[in-house]
């Protein structure tokens, strides 16, 4: 069975690598997006000066924690599922998150997916910004989130569920879906509280396709807590403080024309993360579909690595040049 590679034009969501029916990840499929992502992830892990992030272990919900100024986080987010009446798939997302200031975090996502008995496709990119606009901590801390998406309908990352999103939307083949490009803007109001080691986060999502379609709404709720609140006095890999456990619940809320829970999908599940001291943070979550519009289980995982004070790499050069 041959491998056909269609034209990959820049970052446009029209890059398709056909995967043979006999093998999901074939040697002959060449430098696939997955391979590229794995190389980047390996590169990130091999970089020095990496350390822990203070982000809770959420996959869909956001807390008020922003990336620390000057830090660059490189993360690989994966999702795999075997929905009823559809081929199993794996979604790959490369996430580059940079702390521009203490009140502004900017992020770029590059996304793709591989579907069994189908193909591997690059599905597009997202650019998001989060702004914290209150200078001090409050009982509830608001963060404003603004995102622009240029993604293919073949995207299966399920980074948020909005409107009447349903798992049946993913049944058509990649060939049918990937040419359909969605340009969307998305806003979120992130509310987050920290109390006695617990984090509680509530996100309200509004998304608008830039074509003539109604606004779509969604929600995400999450909570988490480290297994130990006080730090250990000795350096240890498996200290309880390095583990955080929590839960997430998210789903769609219809559109401006049909607001409500009818014909929407919802997921809930536990989430756990392990932060390797001076190393990556690894998160995992099985998320269970709560109704017939949802997939049975979404298996999510994430490996994130933070390059501390990435900005200083460039400042260091300017010091040597005598500019300061």
């Amino acid at each position: 069975m041959s491998v056909s590679v269609q034209l990959c034009a820049g970052l446009a969501p029209s890059c398709v690598l056909k995967v043979p029916r006999s093998s999901f990840f074939s040697r002959r499929s060449g430098p696939t997006l997955l391979g590229l992502l794995l190389v980047l992830a390996t590169l990130a892990v091999s970089l020095p000066h990496a350390a822990l992030a203070q982000e809770p272990p959420y996959f869909v919900a956001y807390s008020s924690a922003l990336e620390e100024p000057g830090n660059l986080e490189i993360a690989f987010k994966g999702l795999t599922a075997s929905p009823k009446n559809a081929n199993a798939f794996m979604s790959h997302t490369l996430e580059l998150e940079y702390g521009a200031t203490a009140w502004w975090t900017t992020e770029l996502y590059l996304q793709g997916q591989s579907t069994v008995n189908d193909s591997t496709v690059f599905t597009g990119l997202r650019s998001e910004n989060r702004f914290r606009f209150l200078p001090t901590e409050h009982w509830i801390n608001p963060v404003l989130y603004v995102e622009y998406e240029n993604i293919s309908a073949a995207d299966k990352s399920l980074l948020e569920i909005v409107g009447n999103d349903s798992i049946s939307d993913l049944q058509p083949s990649n060939a049918e879906l990937y040419g359909e490009t969605e340009r969307e803007i998305e806003g979120k109001l992130i509310l987050s509280s920290n109390a006695k080691g617990w984090n509680f986060s509530e996100n309200f999502i509004a998304e608008k396709n830039l074509s003539n379609e109604p606004w779509e709404f969604g929600y995400a709720l999450a909570t988490s807590r480290p297994l130990a609140l006080a730090g250990s006095s000795r350096s240890c890999l498996f200290c309880r403080q390095n583990f955080t456990a929590g839960a997430e619940l998210y789903g769609g809320l219809g559109t401006t024309q049909s607001f409500g829970l009818a014909s929407t999908s919802h997921y809930a599940g536990p989430t756990v993360s392990f932060e390797v001291p001076h190393g990556p943070a690894i998160s995992f979550s099985p998320q269970f579909g709560l109704n017939d519009n949802s997939a049975g289980v979404l298996w999510r995982f994430k490996v994130a690595y933070e390059i501390q004070q990435f900005r200083d790499w460039f400042r260091h050069n300017s010091f040597r040049g005598g500019s300061r």
């Binding site: 203070q54 000057g70 203490a102 009140w103 901590e137 609140l229 250990s232 403080q241």
Partner: protein
């Protein structure tokens, strides 16, 4: 109408800048200033605080807490004279418009452990 709007905007902007530029110490509420570090003087907490400091704070303030790339030293007179409660307040709230992020998602116990460690640095001076 346009002139009035512009004047109002300039007034709002300048008052925001004046408020933002004042020292963080003056913003700490009385109740926070008086808070007591439950780990004060505890050697084990200071050792834990050193590890947390190395993971989270050293990247900006330096391994020796002397400051890096224009970020402030934590061995300064200002920090030495601040109460534990005031240091706890700045760790929790940060100074977002001056580059210091909020560390509220770090558990409070770990923030107190950092302060306990900082006190050992200040007595070492």
């Amino acid at each position: 109408m346009k002139l009035r709007f512009a004047t109002l905007s300039i007034l709002l902007l300048s008052s925001t800048l004046v408020l933002a530029s004042s020292s963080w110490l003056s913003k700490v509420p009385k109740a926070d200033r008086a808070r007591v570090n439950p780990y004060a003087g505890n050697a084990e907490a200071a050792a834990a605080g050193k590890l947390i400091f190395e993971d989270n704070c050293a990247k900006c303030h330096g391994d020796d807490a002397e400051g890096r790339h224009g970020r402030p030293s934590l061995r300064s007179e200002r920090v030495a004279h601040a109460t534990d409660g005031e240091l706890a307040w700045i760790l929790r709230n940060g100074q977002a418009f001056h580059g210091m992020p909020s560390w509220s998602s770090l558990p409070e116990q770990q923030r107190w452990q950092i302060i306990t460690y900082l006190r050992t640095l200040l007595t070492d001076r």
